[in-house]
Every structure is written in C-alpha cells, then in structure tokens.
C-alpha cells in the first residue's frame, strides 16, 4: 500500500482493514501523547479536588500552606479538569476520530506533537500561577493571562489539522460525529477569545462581565466538551455493537438544535442576580429548548442499544459509552430544569449545582473519553490491554463514585436550599447538617481517583512494552480472525441454499 507522507488520502487499493491500520498508525504518537497527558491532568485534578473537598468538612487540613488554600486548590481542580483533562482528551479524540472517519492519514503530526507539548506547558504555567496566588478570579478562566498564549496557539494547529483532514476526506458524506467535531473547532476559539476579551482584558465591567463569564462557563461545557462526547458516542455505540444509529435523521436534528439553542442558556447561572430580567428569561428559554437535542440524542442512544444490552457484559468500550450516554440524558434533563426560576429558588447557591456538574463531567463526558481510549489504544499500539480486572475496577469506581457524588450532593443541595429559605433556621446549623454529605463527597472523590489509578496502570502497561497476558487480542486483527473463523465454519457446515 502506498500512502502520502503529508495529509494525503491513502492511495493504492488496500483492503478496509489496511486502510484503518494505516490511518490509525499515522496518528499513534500524537494521540498517545494527548491521552497520556490527559490522564496525568485527570489525576492532578482529582487530587486537587479531594484536597478542596476535605477542606470543606475539615477546614484546618493543610491550613498552614498558603499555596494550598481552598481558593487556589479549588481553581486548580476545575481548570486542570476542564483544560488539562477535558481539553487534551477531547483534542486527542477529535483528531483520531476525524482521521478515521475521513480515512486520511493524520497531517502535521510533528506540529501537533509540538503543539500538544506547548499546550501542556501552558497548563502547568497556569497551575503554578494559580498556586502562587495569581489567579484572575474569573471562574473557568482562572489561569493568569501569561498562560493563555500557550493554550491558544497550539489549538490553531488542531483546527488546521482538522480542516485539512475534512477537506481531503474519502467519503462524500459527513457523518454526524464529524458535524460535532467540525463545530467544536469553530466554536471553541470564538468562545475563549471573546470571553477573555470581555473578562480578563476588561472590555466590559460589572454585570456585563458576569454575563460574559457565565456565557463562557456554560458554553465551554456545552459547546466543547458535550459535542466531543456526543461525537464519540455516535461513533462508538454503533461501531461496537455493529448496528447503525437508530434514526440518523434525529441525530442531525439533535446536532443543529444543539448548535442553535445551547449558546443562549448561559445566563441561567445568574438567576437571582442583579441582571436585567430579560437576559435571565433568555437563558431559561434557551435551556428549555435544549430538551429538543437532549431528547433526540437520548432516543437515538437508547433505541440503537435496544436488543444489544447484553453486550455490556463483554465490551469495556460499550460499558463506558453507554454509561456516558445515559448520564448525558440524566444530567441534561437536570440542567434544563435547573434553569427554571422556581427550581433555582431552592437549589441556587447550594451543593446541588456541584452535584449536577459532576454528573455531567464525570458521568457523561469522562466515561465517553475513557470509552474512546479503551477502543482506540489497542488499535494504535497493536497491543492488548493487560488486565480485564483493572478495566472492571475502573468502570465500577467511575460508576459508583459518580452516582455517590451526584446523589449525595443533589439531595444535600435540595435540603440545604429548603433550609436556607427558612429564616428560622440558623445558617451555622445548615452548614453543620451538610457535613456528612461533604464527607461522602470526599469518599466519592477517593473512589473516582482509585478508578483513575487502575486505568493509569493499564495505560502505562499498554504504552510500554511488557509481556502480554492474553493470547487473543480484543479485535486488533478482528476482521482477519473473523474471516478465518467464518471460512472454517463454512467449510465445516453444509450450505443450505
């Protein structure tokens, strides 16, 4: 087989299998680097999250160290989770999936590797800046301004590579996942640059700055993390179970309605704040309209899986993908309802919001990134995951930890909100009442971290050469084995025609 060295369509007449191998191998170094970095930052984010969680029920914990005060370590937790893990894992997913769907070799690999390294240096610079007390204080944009060029410039390489692959794609059709991936590369730079201009660069002040801040804070999840997660689900679920999407029409309706409505929902974060009422109403209406994409995506995921749920026992990729898809529906319904003023009267400024965010990020987005890694890594490394047990530990820790976290925080948040609305209850009593739930939050964080450690061990072992335990790879040469087995069966059984 002949292949271009630069961003070319794979030439010659190779089989579909050879095509896939060629495309996968071209992206190996880039994707492994991105995902390894993403797991590193996930570990950092988890540790920072646990430290800040402990501080909530035990304020004296590490109290003598100024660079580990709650305000700093909590910002490190969120920014490493959203940019370090989310940004880097999503970029790896975007590039691998686009190369596969376009059936072209990954272009500009050296540039993407350099960009990946610079991006990670940027996150490190940002983290150190926050720990030194130089946070901007703007939620989700806490990294000091001097870290931002490290993050923005490499993203340009990803955009260029993505568009290059798209315009050289082999198929004339754009698969639904590709719509999401292309949109992400357009939306994210617009979001970051506009939000930085309106907040940290001081284009607007006061309430307008808060609006810009939450417009960004909401959209970075919904127009960056969510589309990448949905793109992964729309590829992995049909691919693993060998069944096309239940309704392809609905999937496209879901994409365009998400594209149109999500952008309007951000101001619901400021319900009850000193904003013009119409801006909040706009956010509430936008949130209600989000039921359209959420329902279409939920129907599609569930109906595609119908009749194939037994495969959850045998496929690690499917377990994580289905968990992510189900919790997408749950957390999105929850998020849309949360926008209502009547709901906010109770849950705003309570632990309920924290529970919702974790159901979304660790219940929906993270499992879909894990699913993508479980599916792609053996194909990239030509090596099997070393331990099925570690995969199971990872899965159960992720599921139990997320449900414990989300369940405890959402329940505590509702009760906390109801008590805060009752002026006869002293505030300190409410704080004390929440302490057991804050402890369960720390426990949930530890469970999630245990799962991450199990995954890290498996990840390190698949990346570094080691003696393989399993004689039969998952599906590395699946089609070849499959063909041989089918041919053997044909020979063994008489044909009834």
């Amino acid at each position: 087989m002949v292949a271009d060295t630069k961003a070319g369509v794979v030439k010659g007449a190779p089989s579909d299998y050879e095509f896939r191998v060629e495309v996968d191998r071209s992206s190996k170094q880039v994707i492994v680097l991105y995902w390894a970095a993403a797991l590193f930052w996930l570990t950092v984010a988890s540790i920072a999250g646990i430290i800040s969680s402990i501080k909530l029920h035990n304020p004296g914990f590490l109290g003598g160290i100024e660079w580990l005060t709650f305000g700093r370590v909590r910002a490190v937790h969120w920014d490493t989770a959203i940019y370090g893990f989310g940004g880097v894992a999503a970029s790896g997913t975007l590039l691998w999936l686009q190369a596969r769907l376009c059936q072209v070799r990954m272009p500009y690999t050296k540039l993407l590797i350099a960009g990946g390294l610079v991006f990670n240096v940027g996150i490190l610079v940002g983290v150190v800046g926050i720990l030194m007390g130089q946070s901007t204080g703007v939620e989700t944009l806490e990294f000091p301004l001097y870290a931002m060029p490290f993050l923005v410039v490499p993203y340009v390489f990803i955009v260029i590579a993505n568009f290059t692959m798209y315009f050289k794609k082999k198929s004339s059709h754009t698969y639904v996942s590709q719509w999401y991936l292309m949109a992400v590369t357009v939306w994210f730079p617009v979001l970051v640059l506009s939000a930085e201009a309106c907040t940290n660069l001081g284009a607007v002040d006061g309430v307008a700055q808060a609006i810009a801040n939450w417009w960004y804070g909401h959209n970075v999840v919904g127009l960056f993390a969510t589309p990448t997660g949905i793109a992964a689900a729309y590829y992995l679920i049909p691919k693993v179970i060998g069944k096309p999407i239940h309704s392809y029409h609905l999937s496209l309706l879901g994409f365009w309605s998400n594209a149109i409505f999500y952008n309007w929902a951000g101001t619901h974060h400021l319900t009850g704040g000193p904003l013009p009422a119409w801006t909040i109403t706009l956010g509430v209406v936008g949130s209600m309209m989000m039921f359209i994409p959420v329902i279409t995506i939920g129907i599609n995921h569930h109906m595609t899986m119908l009749g194939s749920f037994h495969l959850l026992k045998t496929s690690p990729t499917l377990r994580f993908a289905v968990m992510g898809s189900m919790l997408y529906t749950v957390s999105s319904f929850q998020g849309a309802l949360e926008a209502l003023r009547s709901h906010q009267e109770i849950t705003h400024f309570t632990h309920y919001t924290i529970g919702h965010v974790h159901l979304g990020m660790y219940g929906f987005f993270a499992p879909l990134m894990f699913a993508m890694m479980y599916y792609a890594m053996p194909r990239l490394m030509n090596r099997e995951w070393s331990s099925a047990r570690l995969i199971r530990i990872h899965f159960w820790c992720t599921l139990v930890g997320t449900l414990l976290y989300g369940g405890a925080m959402c329940y505590a948040g509702i009760r906390q909100g109801m008590m805060m609305n009752d002026p006869s209850i002293p505030f300190l009593n409410i704080v004390q009442w929440t302490i057991p739930f804050l402890m369960s939050r720390t426990l949930a964080g530890l469970i999630l971290l245990s799962g991450t450690v199990a995954f890290l061990i498996n990840f390190v072992r698949i990346v570094t050469p080691h003696k393989l335990t399993w004689a039969t790879p998952t599906m590395l040469d699946s089609d070849r084995d499959w063909k041989q087995i089918l041919e053997a069966e044909k020979e063994a059984k008489p044909q009834h025609e």
């Binding site: 896939r20 198929s171 004339s172 698969y175 506009s194 691919k239 496929s315 070393s386 998952t474």
Partner: protein, 62 residues
C-alpha cells in the same frame, strides 16, 4: 474599549456568516440527501454491520 467591541462583533459576524455558509454549502453538496447510507459509512467489508468489534481482553468468545 471601542477597538475590543469592534473585534468581538466582527469576530461574531464572521463566525456566524461562516456557519451559515457552511450549512448552505453542505445542502448544495447533498450532505442531507442519502441519510440511510450516511448512517452506514462507519461500516465496511472488513467490519460489517452485525460484527461486534470490542471485547474484554482475553475474554473473546465465538
């Protein structure tokens, strides 16, 4: 301050125009014409519809 506003609005206008152009381009290109075969483009001869492509390591059963 004025310069930043010009930048933001120009940016938004250009991005919005690009998205609308992209949708028109996709319609003209026939992206929404044959959705049935579009849904099947992730399958091929070697990994056809009906083939399960993922198992726990060492636990693949036929």
């Amino acid at each position: 301050m004025f310069g930043v506003f010009i930048f933001i609005w120009s940016f938004a206008l250009i991005s919005g125009t690009v998205m609308v152009w992209l949708l028109a381009w996709a319609i003209r290109r026939g992206e929404f014409r044959d959705l049935r075969s579009g849904a099947r483009m992730i399958f091929d001869k070697d990994e056809p519809i009906g083939l399960v492509t993922d198992h726990f390591p060492g636990e693949r059963k036929w």
